[in-house]
């Protein structure tokens, strides 16, 4: 799996969303968001786009690949 840094947590918190709420909005489980934020799970393009739309940030700001 390619190494990456995930900045999702700071943008999610800035948006005032909990992991649970974000998970519900993008139709995944809270565990998936949790692992995403720890950069332990590499999301599909669809999920990355869905998340970027919810937090109003471009994908490249949320997931920074080395």
């Amino acid at each position: 799996m390619p190494e990456f840094t995930c900045q999702l947590k700071q943008y999610r918190v800035a948006k005032g969303l909990t992991q649970e709420q974000l998970a519900e909005l993008v139709h995944v489980r809270r565990e998936t968001i949790m692992r995403l934020e720890k950069a332990q799970y590499n999301p599909s393009l669809k999920l990355a786009i869905d998340i970027s739309r919810v937090v109003d940030q471009p994908i490249e700001k949320l997931f920074i690949f080395d």
Partner: protein
């Protein structure tokens, strides 16, 4: 498949099963067990008493085929909608069905007394221990991470199962039990049943491990 449609299918299934059982009972009681016990079809002559079984058997077959088709359609529709579904609800205690695997040991007795080896096949039921882990993941939202874990677990389990089968075939190929064909049949029945059981169990166990990150 919604609840209403599922209820209709269950009622239909109950009716078909009732027709089948009633036909079997009629045949056993009033028609010399024709179409229930094995019979020589080359000398078959139609009797009016055969009608219940001749109706019940195709009806049962049509029901099974239609149900399979309907389930396939429902699964396909869910996939096309792109919405993740939930894993089925299962009690982890169902894993106890894995104990039926011990019935496989009956094979040693049936082989020595009657030279019958088919009970060795029951070792396959050890795979039911996997229900324990499947039950623990009951009603989980099967999102993309879950699906990825499921595929990873299945792939690893298949690799393990195929490696076991390869090892068994390799040993037979190099002459294990070559003087006793009966033993080869027993060895392969046990071996392939156990390899299948291991594959079924491991795919559930590994999925649980990946999900819980242990």
């Amino acid at each position: 498949m919604n609840r209403k449609s599922m209820t209709r299918w269950l009622i239909a299934g109950g009716l078909v099963l009732a027709v089948m059982l009633a036909s079997c009972a009629y045949s056993v009681l009033y028609n010399e067990s024709r179409w229930v016990a094995p019979m020589d079809l080359s000398t078959y002559q139609f009797r009016i008493q055969d009608l219940p079984m001749l109706i019940a058997v195709p009806l049962f077959a049509v029901y099974i085929l239609a149900l399979g088709f309907r389930l396939f359609q429902a699964a396909r529709r869910q996939r096309l909608q792109g919405q993740p579904g939930y894993t089925r609800h299962l009690d982890p205690r169902m894993g106890l069905f894995g104990l039926f695997g011990f019935l496989g040991f009956l094979g040693f007795w049936t082989y020595t007394t009657q030279r019958v080896i088919f009970p060795f096949f029951f070792f396959i039921f050890f795979g039911f221990f996997g229900f324990y882990y499947e039950g623990k993941l009951s009603d989980t939202l099967a999102d993309e991470m879950f699906e990825e874990h499921r595929l990873k677990a299945q792939l690893k389990a298949y690799k393990i199962g195929m490696s076991l089968i390869f090892l068994m075939l390799w040993l037979v190929g190099f002459g294990l039990f070559s003087q006793q064909l009966d033993y080869v049949a027993i060895y392969l029945t046990i071996g392939i049943s156990l390899a299948y059981a291991v594959t079924v169990f491991m795919s559930e166990y590994l999925l649980y491990r990946y999900e819980r990150q242990e």
